[in-house]
Symmetry: C2
Subunit: 395 residues, 2 copies
């Protein structure tokens, strides 16, 4: 760990050779002419590529089985199969959300992620137990990891009476963001569900991040209701729609009308870029000025065994999903797990510039695209000014 240090001989994405001076956990200066100060520890970057600490825009730390014995998945294919199976499994398996969220958080840091937005299940069986586990992990990791917690009604909200009150308590207990889930297809009443969500968010002055898996026309219907409320309540810039599969299903004309409103209302979109589902059109969204960013979604849980806590691999999967092959296109995939995700989640002081938090990743790669496709081990990770990883291993 180091409060102040000088990192020389690193390359930026544009190829420029620079040095970075860090003091008090912040980037003090970055550029080709930044000279070491006497008495400040110096580190030679070995001409490695310098990237900003990565941002995980959407995961579920509390439900992962990372590092535990293999979970044999024999779950049915429906969303409700997966929800029910998980709730039962978490109750009966001894799954420990504190230990698991900590294990996965460490693995994220090990791979260069310094900011995480995690959705945490709140339901009438578990109450706030998972939230408490993740709040403990946030506290343990607070020096190096900037974590946003979304109170997430995974089992539905209106359909399970008592959930609204639990979400209310979760926001009071330290959750930063109010989550929500499929107001029509899970909750069964899109108007009442969205009204309850917005009312609760407004009362706590918290932003919203909604899981919207609803496809095609029903998803578009729910999305229009949501946008109406963002507009009426003045929550521009305070809402993320996660997944938004419907935007990949609709005819161009209907989709573009929705995208125009999404852009106007500064609603951000999150995609995990699943290869088996329709996805929002990445480049079109960006061209319209929409912030669209990336996340893993669950990692090795009862929903799905896939995923690793490495945002370079997620960027690769985003690149493959959107058929991004050119170097300048693959830089967009990396943007989804760095700048765009920080913007979409409002992580403060992000980036490689003076005044930003010193979250730095060094990799042996020739370009950003090379880093994304090769996913080399992290040569060095600095989180909040602290040295946390060398040669791929946590210090």
């Amino acid at each position: 760990m180091a409060a102040s240090f000088h990192l020389s001989n690193v390359r930026l994405a544009d190829g420029q050779r620079v040095s970075v001076s860090v003091a008090g956990g912040r980037i003090e200066a970055i550029g080709p002419q930044v000279a070491p100060q006497p008495g400040v520890p110096a580190e030679d970057g070995g001409a490695a590529l310098l990237l900003p600490g990565f941002v995980e825009g959407h995961t579920h730390l509390d439900k992962s089985n990372w590092g535990r014995p293999w979970y044999r998945n024999e779950v049915g294919p429906l969303l409700t199969d997966r929800i029910g199976n998980e709730r039962e499994w978490r109750k009966t398996s001894g799954h420990d959300s504190a230990a698991q969220s900590l294990a996965l958080s460490r693995a994220f840091v090990q791979a260069g992620t310094t900011r995480i937005r995690t959705h945490v299940d709140v339901d009438t069986e578990a109450g706030l137990r998972y939230l408490e586990g993740v709040l403990g992990t946030r506290q343990t990791m607070r020096d190096v990891l900037d974590m946003q917690i979304v109170a997430f009604p995974q089992s539905g909200m209106l359909k399970r009476p008592g959930t609204v009150e639990l979400l209310d308590r979760a926001l009071a207990a330290g959750a930063d963001v109010l989550g929500a889930l499929d107001p029509a297809l899970i909750d069964g009443d899109p108007v009442a569900s969205l009204n309850a969500t917005f009312e609760l968010a407004q009362r706590h002055r918290k932003p919203i991040d909604i899981h919207l898996h609803e496809p095609g026309e029903i998803g578009a219907f729910t999305l229009r209701l949501l946008l109406d409320r963002v507009q009426a309540l003045g929550m521009q810039g305070e809402v993320v729609v996660s997944h938004a599969f419907c935007l990949g299903d609709l005819a161009d004309r209907e989709r573009d009308v929705l995208l125009e409103r999404i852009a106007q209302l500064r609603v951000a979109l999150l995609t995990s870029a699943p290869p088996s589902r329709a996805v929002p059109p990445l480049k079109i969204c960006r061209d319209k000025g929409i912030t669209i960013f990336g996340g893993n979604d669950g990692i090795r849980d009862t929903w799905s065994p896939y995923g690793v806590p490495d945002m370079l691999e997620r960027a690769m999967l985003i690149g493959m999903r959107y058929d991004l092959r050119r170097d300048d296109d693959i830089a967009i995939a990396f943007d989804c797990v760095s700048e765009a995700a920080a913007r979409g989640c409002h992580f403060a002081d992000y980036g490689l510039h003076a005044g930003a938090r010193a979250d730095l990743v060094l990799v042996d790669a020739q370009t950003v695209a090379h880093a994304v496709v090769a996913r080399p081990k992290r040569k060095l990770v600095v989180a909040n000014g602290r040295f946390v990883v060398r040669d791929g291993e946590l210090i």
Copy 2:
């Protein structure tokens, strides 16, 4: 290296603890009761998971840039952009198909692949130069790697006069399979192109492996012409259709009629499971008795920077593309890069049974699905009875 050895304490996919005795490059016996013979070297597998050597069903060893300085991709989006760019780049960059195919082959072996079908470009500018390079690699690797070479007219066949003659020479020079490419959309004359392909294959008594990128109705049209010729010429079991994107585009009824004929004629299908394209329906094909298998396609070349020579990662991508989450489903993804690929390409003596070639991979994983999603380093690789990898490193 060892001609004969005894491998004990390994687990099969079904959890059974077994030993394997190997003699003369073959599996002599495998089972729970197989005892070591006096004087035969013994190896303790450490309770690792035993998998058969992996099969790469479709790659392009000759055009990879693996291990070389990063290639900055600034290529246009059309198939013809990519074909033209590559032909020019290979001519002017000093790209060496012998060195590159050898580097990539070694990396494949390092990750446990012991059988490869590679398509090699044959065109009127390069002639048989790339084929000669890959034939050299095959010779160098012959003790450990079973390689099939497809003579592939990447720049088109009829549209570039002289290509048929080159393919004829390529088959005479050692190519095992005749390749082909988009008879309608590249060659411009599906009937004449297919006729020339089948005539040439018949003359050399070689099987066919055709790249069919043609989408929707035009792909279906070409595919019907192809199936007619398989039937008329009695080439059942001797044709692979690679990619076959059209089978992911068609309405179910039209698609199913095609699938019935494909099954009857024992035509096999290859998919790289690209996340940005329609793909043949994996489970439906299997249910109809069609052999459908997996491959990487190109790895880090001028077409695309993606891909690694690790068939476990390809199995993972296949699993993600087809939304295979259950353990029994992920076993299908692994089948695509092992048994099904060996069957589709007619690799001889494949598998974990007495009499098969001793191609063995050990990984620290609890189940096959675990191996696919975690892609652990290969603890041990035995290729054709020879120890080639320990702890992830080539011996």
